[in-house]
Symmetry: C2
Subunit: 121 residues, 2 copies
DNA sequence: CATATAAGGGATAATATTATCCCCAGAAGA
DNA sequence: TCTTCTGGGGATAATATTATCCCTTATATG
Protein backbone atom coordinates (compact mmCIF):
# COMPACT_ATOMS: atom_id res chain seq x y z
CA UNK A 1 0.00 0.00 0.00
CA UNK A 2 2.75 2.40 0.79
CA UNK A 3 5.63 2.12 -1.59
CA UNK A 4 6.33 -0.90 -3.67
CA UNK A 5 9.93 -1.73 -4.26
CA UNK A 6 9.28 -4.70 -6.44
CA UNK A 7 7.35 -3.45 -9.45
CA UNK A 8 4.38 -5.56 -10.36
CA UNK A 9 3.60 -6.57 -13.91
CA UNK A 10 1.65 -3.66 -15.31
CA UNK A 11 0.62 -5.60 -18.37
CA UNK A 12 -1.63 -8.06 -16.61
CA UNK A 13 -5.31 -7.49 -16.09
CA UNK A 14 -5.46 -9.70 -13.06
CA UNK A 15 -2.75 -7.67 -11.41
CA UNK A 16 -4.59 -4.46 -12.09
CA UNK A 17 -7.71 -5.76 -10.42
CA UNK A 18 -5.60 -6.97 -7.56
CA UNK A 19 -4.15 -3.52 -7.20
CA UNK A 20 -7.62 -2.10 -6.73
CA UNK A 21 -9.30 -4.81 -4.67
CA UNK A 22 -6.29 -6.22 -2.89
CA UNK A 23 -6.65 -4.32 0.36
CA UNK A 24 -8.20 -6.31 3.15
CA UNK A 25 -11.29 -4.17 3.54
CA UNK A 26 -11.63 -2.60 0.14
CA UNK A 27 -14.23 -4.95 -1.28
CA UNK A 28 -16.33 -4.54 1.83
CA UNK A 29 -16.00 -0.80 1.69
CA UNK A 30 -17.03 -0.64 -1.93
CA UNK A 31 -20.03 -2.86 -1.39
CA UNK A 32 -21.10 -0.89 1.64
CA UNK A 33 -20.79 2.40 -0.16
CA UNK A 34 -22.75 1.00 -3.07
CA UNK A 35 -25.72 0.38 -0.81
CA UNK A 36 -25.67 3.86 0.61
CA UNK A 37 -23.49 3.52 3.66
CA UNK A 38 -21.57 6.60 2.84
CA UNK A 39 -20.18 8.21 5.94
CA UNK A 40 -16.92 7.15 7.60
CA UNK A 41 -18.51 6.52 10.96
CA UNK A 42 -21.22 4.40 9.38
CA UNK A 43 -18.64 2.44 7.48
CA UNK A 44 -16.72 1.77 10.62
CA UNK A 45 -19.86 0.55 12.35
CA UNK A 46 -20.47 -1.67 9.37
CA UNK A 47 -16.98 -3.13 9.57
CA UNK A 48 -16.20 -3.09 13.27
CA UNK A 49 -13.48 -5.73 12.96
CA UNK A 50 -11.33 -3.06 11.44
CA UNK A 51 -10.18 0.31 12.69
CA UNK A 52 -11.01 3.81 11.63
CA UNK A 53 -7.36 4.29 10.86
CA UNK A 54 -7.12 1.41 8.47
CA UNK A 55 -10.41 2.16 6.83
CA UNK A 56 -9.25 5.69 6.22
CA UNK A 57 -6.11 4.44 4.56
CA UNK A 58 -8.00 2.14 2.28
CA UNK A 59 -10.60 4.74 1.47
CA UNK A 60 -7.87 7.13 0.51
CA UNK A 61 -6.44 4.62 -1.92
CA UNK A 62 -9.80 3.90 -3.44
CA UNK A 63 -10.12 7.60 -3.92
CA UNK A 64 -6.68 7.86 -5.49
CA UNK A 65 -7.74 5.28 -8.02
CA UNK A 66 -10.99 7.13 -8.54
CA UNK A 67 -13.25 4.32 -7.51
CA UNK A 68 -14.96 6.57 -5.01
CA UNK A 69 -15.48 10.28 -4.57
CA UNK A 70 -15.28 12.17 -1.35
CA UNK A 71 -17.53 15.04 -0.45
CA UNK A 72 -16.47 17.14 2.46
CA UNK A 73 -19.01 19.37 4.13
CA UNK A 74 -17.17 22.08 5.95
CA UNK A 75 -19.29 22.08 9.03
CA UNK A 76 -18.98 21.36 12.66
CA UNK A 77 -19.21 18.60 13.49
CA UNK A 78 -17.59 17.62 10.22
CA UNK A 79 -19.48 15.62 7.66
CA UNK A 80 -18.06 13.48 4.90
CA UNK A 81 -19.73 11.32 2.32
CA UNK A 82 -18.32 8.82 -0.10
CA UNK A 83 -19.99 7.60 -3.23
CA UNK A 84 -18.99 5.41 -6.10
CA UNK A 85 -17.72 6.92 -9.31
CA UNK A 86 -18.82 5.44 -12.61
CA UNK A 87 -15.64 3.44 -12.62
CA UNK A 88 -16.36 2.24 -9.14
CA UNK A 89 -19.83 1.20 -10.15
CA UNK A 90 -18.37 -0.90 -12.93
CA UNK A 91 -16.85 -3.05 -10.22
CA UNK A 92 -20.17 -4.02 -8.72
CA UNK A 93 -20.87 -7.13 -10.79
CA UNK A 94 -17.45 -8.41 -9.91
CA UNK A 95 -17.86 -7.73 -6.24
CA UNK A 96 -21.22 -9.38 -6.19
CA UNK A 97 -19.81 -12.45 -7.81
CA UNK A 98 -16.99 -12.52 -5.32
CA UNK A 99 -19.46 -12.31 -2.53
CA UNK A 100 -21.72 -14.98 -3.95
CA UNK A 101 -18.96 -17.41 -4.67
CA UNK A 102 -17.62 -16.89 -1.19
CA UNK A 103 -21.00 -17.44 0.39
CA UNK A 104 -21.61 -20.63 -1.51
CA UNK A 105 -18.25 -22.03 -0.59
CA UNK A 106 -18.05 -20.66 2.88
CA UNK A 107 -18.83 -23.81 4.83
CA UNK A 108 -16.21 -25.73 2.95
CA UNK A 109 -13.50 -23.10 3.14
CA UNK A 110 -14.26 -22.46 6.75
CA UNK A 111 -13.84 -26.10 7.64
CA UNK A 112 -10.43 -26.19 6.03
CA UNK A 113 -9.32 -23.07 7.84
CA UNK A 114 -10.43 -24.57 11.11
CA UNK A 115 -8.57 -27.79 10.42
CA UNK A 116 -5.41 -25.82 9.87
CA UNK A 117 -5.64 -23.91 13.10
CA UNK A 118 -6.33 -27.12 14.99
CA UNK A 119 -3.32 -28.72 13.40
CA UNK A 120 -1.21 -26.16 15.24
CA UNK A 121 -1.36 -27.66 18.70
CA UNK B 1 -0.27 -17.60 4.18
CA UNK B 2 1.53 -19.24 7.00
CA UNK B 3 -0.19 -18.76 10.31
CA UNK B 4 -2.66 -16.06 10.94
CA UNK B 5 -2.69 -14.57 14.40
CA UNK B 6 -5.54 -12.22 13.78
CA UNK B 7 -8.54 -14.34 12.87
CA UNK B 8 -10.44 -13.08 9.90
CA UNK B 9 -14.22 -12.87 9.82
CA UNK B 10 -15.33 -16.32 8.76
CA UNK B 11 -18.86 -15.17 8.18
CA UNK B 12 -18.16 -12.97 5.20
CA UNK B 13 -18.28 -14.22 1.65
CA UNK B 14 -15.87 -11.61 0.41
CA UNK B 15 -13.33 -12.72 2.97
CA UNK B 16 -13.67 -16.31 1.90
CA UNK B 17 -12.96 -15.44 -1.70
CA UNK B 18 -10.06 -13.36 -0.57
CA UNK B 19 -8.70 -16.30 1.32
CA UNK B 20 -8.64 -18.32 -1.89
CA UNK B 21 -7.57 -15.72 -4.42
CA UNK B 22 -5.56 -13.43 -2.20
CA UNK B 23 -2.13 -14.79 -3.02
CA UNK B 24 -0.19 -12.72 -5.49
CA UNK B 25 0.02 -15.37 -8.20
CA UNK B 26 -2.97 -17.53 -7.44
CA UNK B 27 -5.35 -16.04 -9.97
CA UNK B 28 -2.71 -16.35 -12.66
CA UNK B 29 -1.98 -19.91 -11.67
CA UNK B 30 -5.62 -20.90 -11.79
CA UNK B 31 -6.18 -19.29 -15.15
CA UNK B 32 -3.08 -20.90 -16.56
CA UNK B 33 -4.04 -24.32 -15.29
CA UNK B 34 -7.51 -23.85 -16.72
CA UNK B 35 -6.08 -23.50 -20.21
CA UNK B 36 -3.98 -26.61 -19.92
CA UNK B 37 -0.69 -25.30 -18.60
CA UNK B 38 -0.43 -28.01 -16.05
CA UNK B 39 3.17 -28.72 -15.18
CA UNK B 40 5.17 -26.74 -12.64
CA UNK B 41 7.92 -25.90 -15.06
CA UNK B 42 5.43 -24.71 -17.63
CA UNK B 43 3.71 -22.60 -15.04
CA UNK B 44 6.96 -21.02 -14.07
CA UNK B 45 7.72 -20.20 -17.67
CA UNK B 46 4.28 -18.69 -17.92
CA UNK B 47 4.86 -16.52 -14.87
CA UNK B 48 8.56 -15.79 -14.98
CA UNK B 49 8.25 -12.73 -12.76
CA UNK B 50 7.80 -15.12 -9.90
CA UNK B 51 9.94 -17.89 -8.52
CA UNK B 52 9.51 -21.62 -8.48
CA UNK B 53 9.60 -21.45 -4.73
CA UNK B 54 6.75 -19.03 -4.41
CA UNK B 55 4.68 -20.71 -7.06
CA UNK B 56 5.06 -23.98 -5.21
CA UNK B 57 3.85 -22.40 -2.00
CA UNK B 58 0.81 -20.96 -3.67
CA UNK B 59 0.07 -24.15 -5.54
CA UNK B 60 0.19 -26.03 -2.29
CA UNK B 61 -2.37 -23.73 -0.77
CA UNK B 62 -4.66 -23.99 -3.75
CA UNK B 63 -4.39 -27.71 -3.33
CA UNK B 64 -5.15 -27.51 0.39
CA UNK B 65 -8.34 -25.69 -0.45
CA UNK B 66 -9.08 -28.25 -3.13
CA UNK B 67 -9.16 -25.82 -6.00
CA UNK B 68 -6.62 -27.92 -7.86
CA UNK B 69 -5.52 -31.53 -7.86
CA UNK B 70 -2.00 -32.75 -8.12
CA UNK B 71 -0.96 -35.83 -10.03
CA UNK B 72 2.51 -37.11 -9.34
CA UNK B 73 4.10 -39.49 -11.81
CA UNK B 74 6.80 -41.38 -10.00
CA UNK B 75 9.33 -41.25 -12.75
CA UNK B 76 12.72 -39.84 -13.42
CA UNK B 77 12.86 -37.09 -14.29
CA UNK B 78 9.83 -36.40 -12.14
CA UNK B 79 6.57 -35.36 -13.69
CA UNK B 80 3.73 -33.51 -12.04
CA UNK B 81 0.46 -32.25 -13.38
CA UNK B 82 -2.11 -29.96 -11.88
CA UNK B 83 -5.69 -29.67 -12.93
CA UNK B 84 -8.72 -27.84 -11.66
CA UNK B 85 -11.22 -29.56 -9.42
CA UNK B 86 -14.90 -28.93 -9.94
CA UNK B 87 -14.71 -26.35 -7.23
CA UNK B 88 -11.79 -24.75 -8.94
CA UNK B 89 -13.68 -24.65 -12.21
CA UNK B 90 -16.46 -22.80 -10.50
CA UNK B 91 -14.03 -19.94 -10.04
CA UNK B 92 -13.46 -19.43 -13.72
CA UNK B 93 -16.25 -16.94 -14.44
CA UNK B 94 -14.99 -14.84 -11.58
CA UNK B 95 -11.40 -14.98 -12.74
CA UNK B 96 -12.38 -14.09 -16.24
CA UNK B 97 -14.29 -11.11 -15.01
CA UNK B 98 -11.37 -10.03 -12.91
CA UNK B 99 -9.14 -10.28 -15.91
CA UNK B 100 -11.50 -8.43 -18.20
CA UNK B 101 -12.17 -5.63 -15.79
CA UNK B 102 -8.46 -5.26 -15.24
CA UNK B 103 -7.74 -5.18 -18.94
CA UNK B 104 -10.35 -2.56 -19.60
CA UNK B 105 -9.09 -0.34 -16.85
CA UNK B 106 -5.43 -1.04 -17.25
CA UNK B 107 -4.40 2.16 -19.00
CA UNK B 108 -6.07 4.24 -16.36
CA UNK B 109 -4.79 2.31 -13.37
CA UNK B 110 -1.35 2.12 -14.85
CA UNK B 111 -1.20 5.87 -15.26
CA UNK B 112 -2.06 6.41 -11.63
CA UNK B 113 0.54 3.94 -10.48
CA UNK B 114 3.14 5.70 -12.56
CA UNK B 115 2.19 9.07 -11.15
CA UNK B 116 2.71 7.73 -7.67
CA UNK B 117 6.16 6.38 -8.35
CA UNK B 118 7.15 9.66 -9.99
CA UNK B 119 5.90 11.54 -6.98
CA UNK B 120 8.59 9.83 -4.95
CA UNK B 121 11.56 11.81 -6.16
C1' DC C 1 33.02 -33.30 -17.19
C1' DA C 2 29.87 -29.42 -17.23
C1' DT C 3 25.28 -28.27 -17.92
C1' DA C 4 20.47 -28.71 -18.46
C1' DT C 5 15.89 -30.43 -16.96
C1' DA C 6 12.59 -32.31 -13.91
C1' DA C 7 10.25 -31.10 -8.98
C1' DG C 8 10.90 -29.66 -4.36
C1' DG C 9 11.96 -27.30 -0.07
C1' DG C 10 14.84 -25.35 4.31
C1' DA C 11 16.53 -21.05 6.03
C1' DT C 12 16.45 -16.42 6.05
C1' DA C 13 16.03 -11.67 4.27
C1' DA C 14 13.24 -8.14 2.44
C1' DT C 15 8.84 -5.86 1.84
C1' DA C 16 4.25 -4.96 2.32
C1' DT C 17 0.22 -4.64 4.89
C1' DT C 18 -2.53 -4.17 9.11
C1' DA C 19 -3.10 -3.18 13.75
C1' DT C 20 -2.51 -0.47 17.94
C1' DC C 21 -2.11 3.64 20.53
C1' DC C 22 -2.89 8.12 21.32
C1' DC C 23 -3.45 12.61 19.87
C1' DC C 24 -6.08 16.77 17.56
C1' DA C 25 -10.44 19.95 16.84
C1' DG C 26 -15.22 21.87 18.08
C1' DA C 27 -19.95 21.38 19.34
C1' DA C 28 -23.91 19.35 21.75
C1' DG C 29 -26.14 16.97 25.53
C1' DA C 30 -26.58 15.11 30.42
C1' DT D 1 -17.66 19.45 33.66
C1' DC D 2 -17.46 14.98 31.66
C1' DT D 3 -18.77 12.36 27.86
C1' DT D 4 -20.11 11.61 23.11
C1' DC D 5 -20.01 12.44 18.31
C1' DT D 6 -17.93 14.06 14.07
C1' DG D 7 -13.45 13.10 10.90
C1' DG D 8 -8.50 12.71 10.69
C1' DG D 9 -3.68 11.16 11.06
C1' DG D 10 1.52 10.60 13.11
C1' DA D 11 4.43 7.10 15.02
C1' DT D 12 5.40 2.63 15.69
C1' DA D 13 4.63 -2.36 16.53
C1' DA D 14 3.05 -6.66 14.89
C1' DT D 15 2.02 -9.86 11.18
C1' DA D 16 1.80 -11.55 6.82
C1' DT D 17 3.53 -12.26 2.42
C1' DT D 18 7.14 -12.61 -1.12
C1' DA D 19 11.68 -12.91 -2.62
C1' DT D 20 16.42 -14.74 -2.57
C1' DC D 21 19.80 -18.20 -2.09
C1' DC D 22 21.30 -22.58 -2.28
C1' DC D 23 21.05 -27.66 -2.07
C1' DT D 24 19.07 -32.50 -3.34
C1' DT D 25 18.13 -36.65 -6.88
C1' DA D 26 18.77 -38.82 -11.27
C1' DT D 27 18.83 -38.82 -16.26
C1' DA D 28 20.19 -37.04 -20.64
C1' DT D 29 23.03 -34.22 -23.80
C1' DG D 30 26.82 -31.48 -25.78
Amino acid sequence: MYEKKIPLPLECGLMMTREILGGKWKPNLLLAISVGISRPSQLHREIPQSTKRVLNLQLKELEEFEMIEKKVYHQLPPKVEYRLTERGKSLMPLLQQMNEWGEKNRPFIKSIILKRTKALD
